[in-house]
């Protein structure tokens, strides 16, 4: 678990930087880095050795970064798209035909009929006063006729609104359905991408193991194979299938000054030396952690030894300079020059009892 956290932290850091940088450009850049990291790996896998294992590790890290960056970008894009397409989900606004009394036209027509009848009644009356009233009624009739025209014109615009709103609704429903399908396809793509990331990690891990299978000491040395196009017979299988090259453990290792990866108490400085003699390992670790509550002596120093096993994780017994015993695990990191260290000691009051961090080869 701890190891997973530490290794994924490396990829996550790179991803966070890339996602923070740009959108599509970031994942395309990560893709280019990955493609460069894995160039000719499969071609050389048939004849390669330690350098191809390291390349597989680098490719796995680059693939993880690419997949994480791309997935983050697509997830963000999916949310953004869903947000802005909300517009298509609600009916468009229109004016209600009920805002105007339906009897408006009838009322005006009725007034027109009344005033017209009165005008006709006074048509033959020569009395000047009656004629004056008749003229005022005539003006009223003209006003009503004009009013009825505008009422009819307005009623036409209401019909126009109804037609336009119906057209709009039909188009909106159709468009919303098309974009729903788009959103669904986008979500499907994101789900597919999420499956690809772990698949690539698994692939590179198996590829590295397969390459190491032949790299282990063989019963008889295989004839050198010059180039991949020269197809050789099946490579001899090694009895110690799965063994990690000793070079992944042996050597001098140090804790990086900046951006160190750790779990638990933060280290300040660490120096690890591992040597091998006839399959037997030995070494020393000297270092110092940041002071924490209950730890007055943050310095750690111990020696360890034991036999190398066929498993990737090497576990040895250790003894501190004050005679306390414990165990140390050495785990090859995601890149060839990285080694994870995980140690635990017996009871040491006020002193560091365990540590977990990644070292870089000197």
């Amino acid at each position: 678990m701890t190891r997973c956290r530490l290794l994924s932290a490396l990829a996550c850091c790179a991803t966070a930087i890339l996602v923070g940088q740009t959108g599509r450009d970031a994942y395309r850049q990560a893709y280019t880095v990955w493609q460069q990291a894995q160039a000719n790996l499969e071609r050389d896998a048939g004849t390669g050795g330690a350098s191809q294992v390291a390349q597989a590790d680098r490719s796995a890290a680059a693939a993880t970064t690419f997949e994480a960056t791309r997935t983050a970008y697509f997830k963000s894009a999916t949310e953004e798209v869903a947000q802005r397409r909300k517009l298509l989900r609600t009916a468009a606004v229109r004016s209600s035909p009920d805002a105007i009394p339906p009897a408006v036209g009838d009322l005006a027509s009725s007034e027109l009929q009344t005033v017209t009848r009165a005008i006709n009644k006074f048509a033959t009356d020569k009395d000047p006063a009656i004629q004056q009233v008749r003229q005022s009624m005539e003006r009223e009739r003209v006003a009503l006729a004009a009013l009825i025209d505008t009422i009819q014109a307005r009623q036409k615009t209401v019909a126009g609104i109804s037609a336009a709103a119906a057209d709009l609704e039909q188009a909106r429903t159709k468009t919303a359905a098309a974009f729903d399908q788009q959103s669904s396809l986008l979500s499907q793509t994101v789900a597919q991408m999420e499956r690809e990331g772990p698949a690539w990690s698994g692939y590179y891990e198996r590829l590295a193991q397969a390459i190491q299978t032949v790299n282990a000491p063989a019963p008889e040395p295989a004839p050198p194979v010059a180039i991949s196009t020269n197809i050789a017979p099946e490579a001899p299988r090694d009895e110690s299938a799965g063994r990690i090259p000793l070079v992944r453990y042996v050597g001098e290792w140090t804790y990086p000054v900046t951006n160190g990866i750790f779990h638990g108490t933060p280290p300040v400085a660490m120096q690890l030396e591992v040597h091998e003699n006839n399959g037997h390992a030995g070494g020393t670790l000297v270092g110092r952690f940041k002071p924490t509550a209950g730890v007055t002596d943050p310095v750690v120093q111990f020696t360890f030894d034991g036999d190398f096993s066929a498993t990737p994780t090497q576990k040895f017994n250790l003894m501190t300079n004050d005679g306390t015993t414990g165990t140390i695990e050495l785990i090859p990191g995601p890149a060839f020059n990285l080694l994870e260290v995980n140690f635990q000691t017996g009871l040491r009051p006020n002193k560091i009892r365990n540590g977990n961090f990644i070292l870089v080869k000197k």
């Binding site: 009920d98 009322l107 307005r154 336009a164």
Partner: protein, 240 residues
């Protein structure tokens, strides 16, 4: 400002905020239901007064102040109705224009998204080619090292995943163009709706002016009816 998906997250955030603002503005406008209700209420009030105006005035003597008051009361109710209607139609137009603006923004963003979709299709194609190349190279290497059969199988599965995704992106890119065409048509419909609303508002305002003109003529008639009655009475008094 770039609102496409390829922009920096800050720009994408700003674009999302603008979309939200447009949506919020559209939602936070005047309460259309309340305005419509007011317009309906004023309409009913006017209708009740207007339909029996002539009957009421007919039962009042020409110079009785209640005659002119009755006409004025209907005229004022008419103006109140038409003012409430104008408020409602103005609010509808305002909200409609905000919707149309949001639809135009959506079209612009979706056009960029369609371009992105076609780029993603190209990317998937490129990835498919790359994994096929890897598969071919690994197939040759397997002949030299049989332990590579397991990763070869895994690579085959990955190639199949990428093929499926490439198919999805293909459908997406093809669908994106069609969806954008529909959206473009939808924006045109939004604009047509806005034109129709503008026409309705203009017609309503013209009708408002005509109603006012009619009631002015009606008031004028009431005043003439009173004035000729008074002239008649004066003449009769003069003769006596």
């Amino acid at each position: 400002m770039k609102c496409g998906l390829g922009g920096v997250p800050t720009v994408a955030f700003l674009c999302a905020a603008l979309f939200s603002c447009a949506a919020v503005r559209a939602q936070d406008g005047p309460d259309l239901a309340a305005l419509e209700q007011t317009a309906q209420k004023r309409g009913l009030e006017w209708e009740a007064l207007a339909k029996d105006m002539n009957d009421r005035v007919a039962r009042i003597l020409p110079c009785d102040p209640r005659a002119l008051a009755a006409v004025n009361e209907v005229s004022q109710a008419s103006e109140a109705r038409l003012a409430a209607l104008a408020d409602y139609l103005r609010a509808v137009s305002s909200q409609a224009f905000a919707e149309t603006a949001a639809a135009r923004n959506l079209l612009s963003a979706e056009e960029k998204r369609a371009v992105e979709a076609s780029l993603e299709r190209a990317d998937a194609g490129q990835e498919q080619t790359a994994v096929d190349t890897q598969s071919d190279a690994l197939a040759l290497s397997v002949k030299q090292r049989t332990s590579l059969e397991v990763p070869q199988k895994l690579l085959g599965q990955i190639a199949e995943m990428i093929r499926q995704r490439a198919t999805s992106t293909e459908q997406q890119a093809a669908g994106a163009d069609a969806a954008v065409a529909l959206l473009r048509d939808l924006v045109a419909k939004f604009e047509a709706r806005d034109v129709a609303l503008r026409e309705e508002f203009a017609a309503s305002e013209a009708e408002r002016a005509r109603w006012n003109g009619y009631y002015a003529a009606r008031r004028a008639r009431a005043q003439i009816e009173c004035s000729i009655t008074q002239i008649g009475a004066t003449r009769r008094q003069g003769k006596q």
